[in-house]
């Protein structure tokens, strides 16, 4: 068939281009603009070049926040993925209990993030919080406002509570797609419970697990609202993650230049992760 070349078709994409320009490109460019300049207010700018970037990459504060972020992501993945698989394996496959379980599982996902933060902020308090009060009553000294470890424990438990459901639901979707014949064949082949998990359930969940891991990683890497509400990044800087640090720099100290440089680096990291996500997914599909 003869192809018709008609450049007028570009007009059809114009609305999208305009929309993206206003919502993403232009704001991003202003950030780029800030990142290479210094200002003392009154709309007076001085050229700063790569100064803010150099400062950022040599700042301990940035790398510490980055490290906290990575450690946090690692811990919650190490908890949420196995726990999610475990819960999904034990969820009912048939009957009235299925919708009940699914709704219960979906509940935490439906709560707005700042509300999750508020819930745990109150829940964990050792004077009026149910959790905090009883943990202390058990003789464990728990105070997330003063103790960095307690603050971390609180933020991690909160994230596990909030997001394990996502892993559960994804794994469950993978599990229910396995036809009964596979389990029957495994019985006939004399497979142990572990072998059934290793050779039937896990391979079938592999794809959704990959999505779950990447989603949870990206999400936890960008975490802001919940720790901000619960600990505000403290005590000290112990729960100050990259995003919290960024907001402190930009809106707390009003250091627009350094904050803009930081946003760009942060943006590049997220972009890199998205690229990894995309590549892994498409490679995996090609392999199938």
């Amino acid at each position: 068939m003869e192809k018709t070349w008609n450049n007028k078709a570009w007009f059809l994409v114009l609305p999208v281009l305009v929309l993206v320009a206003f919502s993403a490109v232009i704001p991003l460019m202003t950030v780029v603009n800030y990142s290479v300049q210094d200002t003392f207010g009154n709309n007076v700018f001085f050229w700063a070049g790569t100064e803010w970037f150099e400062e950022l990459l040599h700042s301990d504060r940035f790398w510490e926040a980055m490290l906290r972020n990575l450690v946090f992501s690692f811990i919650i993945l190490a908890i949420e993925v196995p726990l999610g698989i475990f819960i999904a394996l034990n969820m009912p496959k048939k009957g009235w209990a299925v919708p009940v379980c699914l709704v219960l599982m979906a509940l935490p996902l439906l709560i707005p993030w700042n509300v999750v933060g508020t819930i745990w902020q109150v829940f964990g308090r050792n004077d009026i919080g149910l959790f905090g009060y009883y943990v202390n009553a058990l003789g464990i000294n728990y105070n997330y406002v003063q103790d960095p470890i307690d603050a971390w424990v609180t933020v991690i438990i909160m994230d596990v509570w909030h997001w394990t459901s996502l892993v559960v639901l994804l794994c469950y979707a993978g599990l229910v797609s396995i036809p009964d014949a596979f389990y029957q064949a495994a019985k006939i082949d004399g497979a142990s419970r572990w072998a059934v998990f290793r050779y039937i359930q896990l391979p079938k969940m592999q794809r959704v697990l990959l999505i779950a891991v990447l989603l949870r990683f990206m999400d936890s890497f960008m975490i802001y609202t919940e720790p901000f509400v619960v600990t505000g990044g403290g005590p000290g800087n112990s729960t100050t993650f990259l995003s919290i640090d960024l907001v402190k720099t930009a809106l707390g100290q009003f250091d627009l230049g350094p904050a803009a440089a930081m946003s760009l680096v942060y943006f590049l990291i997220i972009l890199l992760l998205s690229w990894v996500f995309y590549t892994v997914m498409t490679n995996y599909d090609a392999e199938r």
Binding site: A181, A185, K187, I188, G190, A195, P203
Partner: protein, 355 residues
Amino acid sequence: MARVDCNHIRHAYGPNPKSDKDFALKEVHQVFEDGGAYALLGPSGCGKTTLLNIISGLLHPSHGQLLFNGRDVTNLSTQERNIAQVFQFPVIYDTMTVYDNLAFPLRNRGVPEADVDRKVRETLDMIDLASWAKKKARGLTADQKQKISLGRGLVRSDVNAILFDEPLTVIDPHMKWVLRSQLKQLHRRFGYTMVYVTHDQTEALTFAERVVVMYDGEIVQIGTPAELFERPRHTFVGYFIGSPGMNVMPVAIDGKTATLGSQRIELPGAPQTATGPIELGIRPEYVRLGREGMAVKVSKVEDVGRHKVVRANLEGREIAAVIGEDETVPAEPKVRFEPTRINIYADSWRVEMGA
């Protein structure tokens, strides 16, 4: 290999079955001889898969006993019964190689690795996949996958029976023939007891020595393909086997004569007296279309390639007749039934004809 005895087996899926209607399997009392190739044939929902799963131990029957070589296995698990089963959709372990797939059942039973290797290589040769041993199983075609499912059964030399649950459903038509003949060959060479569930009559008739026809939770007839064709014991067998199925029409019997409307049909003998509505069954292949006999009105002629199927109206009833590819329908068509091929049914069950 084993002889499989189904001893008055009944099965209901719901709890507390009361009437016959609650049973998916009404009563099966049947012996599958050692080394026999059986097909369980019937429409969807007739209980054939239920029966198969009871034999394999995936289901526990509500009533009755199952014996392998005279030993009661009713309460044994699937694994302890030592049977092989091939399912409708190929079941393979995606992440393993073809070799590991076949080795899996042996390794699970703790067979020494040297024996595993020997058995797996033998089996790979048997199912013609030797050159694929090192390949990942996920990349294979549907028929190769189905062969692996079969191979996982064959690899255990001591299996009591190999059960097939509509194994060729997802296979391309031309591969069906190949696989079926390979199955027959395996059966002839190694004498496995095989039970093959299908709703495809061609598959059943070409695979099995004895075909077990099931209908509504019961076995209605067991016989060779020829017996099922010539002397269906139940009108259902007549309908279900053959294409088109048997013509069945209500008649009145008086001695050696059957009366259909205003027509009188001579029978080769007098049917034994029986109760219930009487019907006459004749295969379309034995309905002769010509210038003599009973007048019919032809409504349509279907050319199916090898022969033609004539749909006609006889005394207000639809009947089918098969004529040769080159034959034509005469101007004033009349039909005649071949007397020796007529079957008489009372209450849907065949009655013998005396002399």
